[in-house]
């Protein structure tokens, strides 16, 4: 993953991240040297928000009070679980994208490029609705929906290139064992929904 994109991500984050209190150019974590910025991390947390709420409702009878995210349930807070889920999922996604880049399947899968592509896709859909053209799937894609759509294609391509799904899974497991994931705690600790 090309690290030069990080400063561009930082510039885009200023107004959005002021509430988190972290300097906007600092990444939340790095995966094999590739930085994951605060905006992307927050977007993943937002995506997982409902699942974490559901988990604590079910397992800890939490309800949803004002202090839900910071309330400790048997020594764990929902906020910690939310951050942890985002970390794990992004680490896995980046490993797949790094593999794809190393095999020449994708050229540039940086977060900013993906956001631009997502916004362009939704603009295309918006225009298609106005022009009464054919659309496939929802008229507006969430960023996570768009990412899942692209990632599924990526994984099919990787499996084909590596000679099958089991070869792909084996390679991915190997990458997971060797991955170097560095969490920048001062920033990580400030991420909240």
């Amino acid at each position: 993953m090309q690290k030069r994109r990080n400063h561009l991500q930082a510039a885009a984050l200023c107004w959005l991240l002021a509430a988190c209190g972290a300097p906007v150019d600092e990444p939340v974590l790095t995966i094999n040297g590739d930085a994951i910025g605060q905006e992307e991390f927050l977007a993943r947390m937002e995506q997982n928000r409902a699942v974490v709420i559901g988990y604590f409702q079910r397992e800890k009878a939490s309800g949803y009070a004002d202090d839900f995210w910071t309330h400790s349930y048997d020594g764990t807070t929902p906020l910690e679980v939310l951050r942890d889920s985002a970390r794990k999922q992004l680490a896995d996604q980046y490993l797949k994208m790094q593999l794809a880049e190393s095999m020449g399947v994708i050229a540039d899968a940086g977060y900013l490029k993906r956001r631009e592509a997502w916004q362009a896709e939704n603009e295309r859909r918006r225009k298609a609705v106005v022009a009464r053209e054919i659309l496939f799937g929802p008229t507006v894609l969430t960023f996570s929906g768009y990412e899942k759509y692209l990632l599924s294609n990526l994984e099919n391509t990787l499996a084909d290139r590596l000679g099958g799904a089991s070869n792909y899974r084996f390679r991915l497991d190997s990458l997971r064992r060797k991955a170097i994931v560095t969490v920048h705690l001062p920033v990580y600790g400030k991420m909240k929904p």
Binding site: A50, T139, V140, Y149, T157, G164
Partner: protein, 666 residues
């Protein structure tokens, strides 16, 4: 008391607080109600953003009326079930939706039994712009939904619109459970007729723009339990522009609907779960029990076939489906294949069987196991035409399979398709009455590849086969390149829908292409064509009498011909051919008794009424052991599309047909 009330009002005005209000039992209609999980209060009036309710308590007790809106604040979170009452008007529905900016309002039902959002015996509702979960620790025996609209004793209920919702992590049971009809009814979004009265139905249901993920058993279902009777089935059902992904079993399913339209949906990784000992059959997008249902412009991929899921296809025309169509879809990487066609009319509980299924102008890329599976026998008159099937190297996908065999004698057709087979799979042809004609088979040619009177095997010159990605618009690689032999070389097929996969018009009266991309050929019915049948089998014969058989004995008596048509008895026997616009024929006849008057030729326009043809023959030439060979020939008057060759020699073996050659205008 009045002074106290006045003081309280003044205090309320001074402080900005809302005085407590008792909500009405019934709304008068055309009123907007606001619900704010953070800053609302259930003692508020609920009729303004500043005086919003907080929970669902009031929403679940009021009977709403036409034109009402119940709006949840964006970014808010609620637990429990939302079950508002009341009916909207035909042109003035009740809307359950959102207000404000930010994330969709989240209803986190917490694994409750039943639906997070539930309507029963209600009509004229819109449910939109909500995020809904209903997650339990396990699927077990509890039926759960994200959204369920149920009809049980409600008669005809109309105008149910469910749109732009995000429903996910709904833990519905996978099993048949006592007290419920069928596990297919539960899952993400369901509109279900559960009553036993055939008069219960839905008319006008639109489920569009939703995303349903990580849910089960089914992603989106419209189910009418008692459909088989006059006016019983649900009607005007549209399921469109939805994304269903990581669904336990079926992605999008209609049961008991007539004229349902499933279009522009994307189904990714359905069949994602299976339980040992349960019914694990799953497909991505399909219709069953009903007529005239259309699945079109969808993409289905990565469907799984776990445990004993013998299905796992992207698409399916299932039991009791009459005149249903699967067209313009993109199917790829599905573990169970492209499409399942089921008849099973002899099974208990099946009423009429499946018939008139049409599978046309689809693209299948790298589907696994088999492209087409005929199950439960052959649904009569199934027509598979103008599809492009690509099987990449390394795959062992069979192009055709059959399973769960029942009546295997029914006719079906496979025409104008391109089979681009770089894999190692073959064909398991179901029964003897399939018609394979005008297909292009390219790449590997297994021994089981069917005979085809107009087969092409040359390179179709596809732009970039195998290059399709995720997304219906990524298949430009399946366009026919310049000079493709598939262009304009197909057979004219009536009632073909008028469009190809890419939206190009199929001009009537002109030859279509083979495959899913239309490039028009010349005017139809004007090109002379010669068909030669060596009679090594009956693949080119349209019909024959029961006493017709092939004889391979003593080829030396027949000039080396090791397969001739003869009879098993002295009764009159015949073979017929069906080709458009016959012009002439010839037939090599081997005679032992040299009674050539016992060989007659007939023509027909419709295959029913026959006219005897004049013919002449060459002087018989003695070959060996008393056998002579002659060649008959004759002209066929215009307007005839059937040729019959009849043998009436008293000796069942004394007259044999070696080869037939027919010219016609294609």
């Amino acid at each position: 008391m009045k002074k106290t009330a006045a003081f309280l009002c003044l205090l309320a005005l001074a402080t900005g607080c809302n005085p407590p209000v008792t909500p009405p039992t019934n709304s008068t209609g055309n009123t907007t109600y606001y619900v704010d999980s953070q800053n609302g209060s259930d003692t508020n009036a609920g009729t303004s953003e500043g005086a919003a309710w907080k929970t669902f308590t009031n929403v679940n007790t009021i009977t709403f009326a036409a034109g009402d809106k119940i709006l949840l604040k964006s970014g808010g979170v609620w637990t429990g079930q939302l079950h508002p009452l009341g009916n909207g008007g035909t042109d003035n529905p009740i809307t359950l939706g959102s207000y404000g900016t930010g994330s969709k309002p989240l209803i986190s039902a917490g694994g409750i039994t039943g639906a997070a959002v539930y309507l029963k015996n209600q009509q004229n509702w819109v449910i939109e712009n909500l995020e809904i979960t209903n997650t339990a620790a396990s699927r077990s025996d509890v039926y759960r939904w994200g959204i369920q609209v149920e009809n049980n004793g409600g008669g005809t209920l109309s105008n149910i619109i469910i749109r732009n919702n995000y429903v996910h992590h709904v833990t519905g049971s996978f099993k048949w459970v006592t007290g419920y009809i069928d596990p297919h009814l539960n899952g993400g979004i369901a509109v279900n007729v559960t009553g036993s009265a055939g008069t219960d139905k839905f008319d006008y249901v639109v489920i569009e723009g939703n995303t349903v993920s990580n849910s089960g058993r089914t992603g989106i279902v419209v189910w009418d339990n008692v459909w088989n009777g006059s006016n019983f089935a649900s009607t005007r059902v549209k399921v469109r522009q939805n994304t269903v992904e990581y669904i336990d079993s079926d992605g999008i399913l209609t049961f008991g609907c007539n004229g349902a339209l499933l279009e522009y949906n994307v189904a990714n990784t359905c069949g994602n779960y299976a339980e040992s000992g349960q019914f694990n059959g799953s497909c991505a997008i399909w219709s069953t029990r009903g007529s005239d249902c259309i699945s079109q412009y969808n993409e289905a991929y990565n469907t799984k076939a776990l445990l004993d899921n013998v299905d796992g296809q992207g698409f399916d025309i299932d039991m009791d489906a009459t005149n249903c169509i699967v067209q313009y879809n993109y199917s790829h990487d599905n573990e169970g294949g492209f499409i399942l066609l089921i008849d099973a009319r002899t099974q208990p509980g099946v009423y009429v069987g499946t018939s008139g299924a049409v599978v046309r102008y689809n693209i299948s890329q790298n589907d696994k196991t088999r492209i087409i599976n005929f199950a439960g026998g052959i649904a009569p008159n199934s027509a598979v035409y103008n599809n492009t099937f690509y099987i990449g190297s390394g795959l062992a996908t069979n192009i055709i399979e059959h399973s769960w065999d029942m009546d295997m004698t029914q006719p079906f057709s496979f025409r104008n398709n391109i089979v681009y087979n770089l894999g190692s799979g073959g064909y398991q042809i179901p029964g003897p009455n399939g018609t394979f004609d005008y297909n292009l088979f390219y790449g590997n040619h297994p021994a089981t590849e069917p005979a085809d009177a107009h087969k092409l095997t040359s390179n179709p010159l596809l732009a970039n086969p195998g290059s399709g990605g995720t997304g219906r618009s990524t298949v430009a690689g399946y366009l026919l390149g310049s000079g493709s032999p598939a262009a304009g070389s197909g057979k004219v097929i009536a009632n073909n829908g008028g469009l190809d996969y890419f939206g190009n018009t199929i001009t009537a009266g002109y030859y279509p292409s083979r495959g899913a991309h239309q490039v028009a050929g010349g005017p139809a019915g004007t090109t002379p064509e010669t068909v030669t049948d060596p009679l090594d089998n009956f693949s080119l014969v349209s019909s024959r009498s029961t006493n017709i058989q092939l004889d391979a004995s003593n080829p030396a008596y027949f000039g080396g011909d090791n397969s001739r048509v003869t009879r098993s008895s002295g009764s009159i026997g015949y073979i017929t051919y069906n080709l458009s616009n016959l012009t002439s024929f010839s037939a090599d006849i081997h005679e032992f008794s040299t009674d050539l008057s016992k060989v007659k030729y007939y023509a027909s326009a419709d295959g029913t009424t026959w006219t005897l043809l004049s013919s002449s023959y060459t002087a018989p030439v003695l070959i060996a052991n008393g056998w002579s060979k002659t060649t008959f020939s004759g002209a066929v008057p215009a307007g005839n599309h059937y040729l019959k060759i009849e043998l009436s020699d008293a000796s069942s073996w004394g007259t044999q047909i070696g080869k037939v050659t027919i010219t016609h205008l294609n």
